[in-house]
């Protein structure tokens, strides 16, 4: 529907109603991250007070346990509300109740826009980038602590209680981060550019998703002062119901992050479906956009289950319902089912964007079209669809529906078929190519190498008899680190190195980039490959004690993990030096890409495209000298020019 460029039947008539002019606020009334912090703290305090007022009198809530979960949940919830209020995410929703139009914030070219509620998808993308990196490095530091504790089999450097808390915190933060790692920064920034749109469909929802993401980060951090949570990232009940205050941070944090995930997916789906430029038919949509569409569908549809399951958990802990407590008519299986019904699509939320980036980058560095484009998209949607039907493979030994195990073994193994499509596509693209080993290409190839190991070991896990040995062991741990860290994070870094010239107009030092890649690649494998062996040798996940004969492998892994951590410092140094302190200007299109996003000026103007481009070809025609250009973006100036009315035309539901 979006390729029709004719004018609507009726004349446009009067201009849409003018919106209220942007109010000129004094500096101290402007909303930014500082007001957000202030209101978040105020909301936290208010919630704490209210929780104690409301529930403090019930001995079952705050009596002998000495801990008022109602107060903790309320303070976290109101804290998040204050955060959103302070940043200005709720201005429009509140104004809407009085029939007001959205206020168009004045265009702000200064750096302060990154600390404000911005409806520019490019600003949101950059904000997400720093959010994701902060999240990633925080959780990465916790990983270093985990590996430190595992240096000795029975001596404890950190202590068992703290260790369990750190394990849970690391896992949860990484999962929260990884589900937005690509969709957030690269998806929001690039999708409109790639499809030739001037904006996303629901820019305020997009911005709100980012500020919920940051709120989720703060909420999950509060788990540590509240005493952590002992359940790991899976939060199994009834241990969840038994745990102390940090568990509330986990549940509220996941709910907040989950809402952000839903909103981010929601906006991107509508954008990709409706804001494609004229001529951007489905067959011309870049593979990366396809992957983001598949991911967004999973984000929007799988995450509500997590939020609902979290709500039940919060009710169990505050209102003392018994969803997950068997002795009171609940079921511990209920959480396992609901959680994994979200949890397995979540795994592909983290894998698909990685496929997209790699398939998008390979043609540029092989100077070839992407091989079997339709197979690639079919593969992504096949994975997305199948991912809803495999969740019980996490529960093969649980005693839940044991007779259904062959079915889930089948669906799980079937997923390797569409995943195999991706390999067909990427390997086919390499065939007789002209491969340039630039930094993004190295990361993309590294992803292919790592994900292969992660994927193949996944088949081992799907096989029920073998799963009896490897389930819940370090083998699983190594498997999903190979797919997420080795897959998604490598792809993310490929994307970062690839698109930074577009986003910043500056270029990384390529030699340092290559050093970063090789350190990360080698030490990643040294860290996680031994974990496969440890798992096969009988080391369960999340333990602080292990057999003495496993110490060498553990120590090898730990030392490699430190070096892996250090390799990120190379990236940070590279970033600080060549992007911030001594900027190196990048050529307009350093990799010679045909992608539409590279046809825009750098830095990308506020409305992305001077004229909405007319797309004429898919961006993979590297081999053809006489191929049509991807898009015509140099149309003559309009016959009837008019100033765009400042009011946003879309009405958001």
């Amino acid at each position: 529907m979006a390729i029709d460029t004719t004018a609507p039947e009726a004349p446009l008539g009067a201009a849409p109603p003018p919106a209220a002019p942007a109010p000129h606020r004094p500096v101290w009334l402007q909303q930014n991250v500082l007001t957000a912090i202030v209101l978040a703290v105020a909301g936290f305090a208010l919630g704490h007070w209210a929780g104690n007022r409301i529930a403090g009198g019930y001995p079952n809530v705050a009596g002998a346990s000495g801990e008022n979960e109602v107060a903790i949940c309320l303070s976290l919830g109101l804290g998040v509300l204050g955060w959103l209020l302070g940043i200005g995410a709720l201005n429009y929703p509140i104004a809407k109740m009085f029939g007001r139009e959205a206020i168009q914030e004045p265009y702000n070219p200064s750096w302060t826009r990154f600390f404000k509620f911005s409806t520019d998808h490019k600003v949101v993308g950059v904000q997400y980038f720093f959010g994701v990196i902060t999240f990633f490095f925080t959780a990465g530091l916790l990983a270093m602590a985990i590996r430190t504790e595992l240096l000795y089999p029975t001596n404890h450097l950190i202590g068992p209680g703290t260790y369990i808390e750190i394990v849970g915190e690391h896992g949860t933060m990484m999962m929260m981060m990884a589900s937005s790692a690509v969709v957030g920064p690269l998806g929001n920034y690039l999708v409109p550019l790639m499809i030739g749109a001037r904006r996303t469909a629901f820019p305020r929802i997009e911005a709100t998703s980012f500020w919920l993401f940051t709120a989720g980060y703060l909420v999950i951090l509060t788990a540590l002062p509240f005493g952590g949570f002992p359940t790991g990232w899976t939060g199994y009940a009834p241990l969840q119901t038994q745990a102390s205050g940090g568990m509330d941070s986990y549940l509220v944090g996941f709910a907040v992050i989950g809402l952000g995930m839903i909103l981010a997916g929601f906006n991107l789906i509508a954008t990709i479906i409706h804001y494609r430029a004229p001529g951007m038919t489905w067959a011309r949509v870049p593979v990366f956009v396809w992957s983001i569409l598949a991911t967004s569908a999973l984000l929007a549809l799988a995450t509500p289950t997590l939020v609902t399951a979290g709500l039940f958990g919060i009710l169990d802990r505050t209102a003392q319902t018994a969803f997950y407590v068997n002795e009171r008519g609940g079921s511990s299986f209920l959480w396992e089912n609901l959680f994994w019904f979200f949890g397995h699509p979540e795994v592909y939320i983290m894998a698909l964007p990685g496929f997209g980036i790699v398939a998008e980058i390979l043609p540029v560095f092989t100077r070839k079209p992407v091989f079997a484009y339709r197979v690639a998209t079919a593969g992504m949607f096949g994975v997305a669809l199948l991912s809803f039907f495999v969740w019980q493979h996490h529960l093969f030994q649980s005693g839940i529906n044991p007779d259904m195990r062959p079915l889930y073994m089948l669906t799980t193994e079937l997923i390797s078929i569409p995943t195999g499509f991706i390999y067909l596509v990427t390997l086919g693209t390499l065939w007789r190519a002209r491969i340039r080993f630039e930094v993004p290409m190295l990361f993309a190839l590294g992803m292919l190498f790592n994900f292969l190991i992660g994927g193949v070991t996944g088949v081992f896990l799907s096989d029920v008899p073998v799963d009896v040995t490897v389930h819940g062991s370090f083998f699983v741990m190594a498997h999903f680190h190979y797919t997420i860290m080795g897959g998604l994070i490598f792809a993310l870094f490929a994307g970062i190195y690839y698109w930074t010239p577009k986003v910043t107009g500056r270029q990384f030092d390529q030699r340092l980039g290559k050093i970063h890649f090789w350190c990360m690649f080698v030490f990643f494998n040294c860290t996680f490959f031994p974990l496969f062996i440890l798992g096969l040798l009988g080391m369960p996940r999340r333990v602080f004690t292990y057999a003495a004969n496993l110490q060498f492998l553990n120590d090898f892994s730990s030392v490699s993990a430190y070096l892996l951590g250090t390799s990120f410092l190379i990236f940070v140094a590279n970033f600080i030096w060549t992007i911030v302190i001594e900027p190196r200007p990048a050529p307009a299109n350093p990799w010679g890409s045909l992608g539409l996003e590279w046809q825009t000026p750098t830095p990308v103007p506020y409305y992305n495209f001077e004229r909405i481009p007319v797309v004429m070809n898919d961006p993979y025609h590297y081999a053809e000298a006489d191929a049509d250009p991807v898009a015509d973006i140099s149309l003559p100036p309009p016959a009837v020019a008019m100033n765009r009315p400042p009011a946003a035309q879309a009405i958001e539901p």
């Binding site: 079952n60 009596g63 002998a64 346990s65 000495g66 801990e67 070219p109 200064s110 750096w111 530091l141 089999p153 029975t154 001596n155 404890h156 950190i158 202590g159 068992p160 209680g161 703290t162 540590l224 005493g227 002992p230 009834p238 119901t241 038994q242 745990a243 102390s244 407590v325 600080i576 911030v580 302190i581 001594e582």
Partner: protein, 229 residues
């Protein structure tokens, strides 16, 4: 965005400095939450038995969790009661435990832990009386257990039947009703840290009575750190 180079360097330095500071601060604050370790190993002579005195209280009575049940250990050098559950003991040594039990009892979640196991002679002495088994459904029930599952040590501690219970630690044996439980075992030859805990679901207000203090080191869980003397 146009800033002088020196401004940018300064800005980056400040951000990095704040980040490093935060990491160090949070890390140190977090590590610091570990309770102290009472040392029974230093100065220990081979062949000599070690005497450990502990007490259990129904409510610790102060600090961040005044309602929580807790163990305390007496420092052998100063004689002061320390609010901790970590103790260093020498390897391959007989340790004589004396536990002053100030809490009320209840039936056990699993009567299996009513059995005395892993001590020398497979018995304990309760107020001077030698016992191998506590029936938690009769008498005053069992208040707590001192159990090291990986070493096979398990000692149930008889509950106090008096309604007049000590509520603020440390409790004075002269003032409050209590039971004195004595037992001994020989520490393993292998150095390492052995988890010990209580198996009575005495974490009031928590699901299964096993949250809060029951899952916090320094209250009802601890480490027996076996070290080379």
């Amino acid at each position: 965005m146009r800033m002088a180079r020196s401004t940018r360097i300064a800005l980056v330095a400040v951000v990095l400095g704040i980040a490093t500071g935060l990491i160090v601060f949070v890390g140190m604050a977090y590590v610091r939450t570990s309770p102290p370790t009472v040392d029974f190993a230093t100065g220990h002579r081979a062949g000599q038995a070690v005497n450990v005195h502990m007490q259990t209280v129904g409510t610790y009575g102060k600090g961040t969790h005044p309602t929580w049940v807790s163990y305390l250990i007496q420092d052998p050098k100063t004689g002061r009661w320390v609010h901790t559950t970590l103790l260093d003991v020498p390897a391959d040594t007989r340790v004589n435990f004396t536990i002053y039990q100030f809490d009320s009892g209840s039936p056990l979640r699993n009567q299996q832990v009513g059995l005395v196991q892993g001590t020398i002679g497979g018995k304990m002495s309760v107020n001077g009386k030698s016992l191998r088994l506590l029936n938690s459904y009769s008498n005053a029930g069992v208040a707590h257990t001192f159990s090291i599952p990986t070493l096979g040590v398990n000692v149930p501690l008889l509950g106090v039947s008096s309604p007049n219970l000590c509520g603020v630690a440390p409790c004075s044996t002269a003032r409050w009703p209590h039971n004195v439980v004595r037992f001994s075992f020989v520490t393993p030859k292998a150095v390492g840290q052995y988890a010990w805990q209580c198996f009575v679901p005495c974490g009031a207000g928590w699901l299964y009575g096993n949250g809060g203090p029951m899952q916090t080191i320094g209250y009802m869980d601890g480490l027996l750190k076996v070290v080379q003397a």
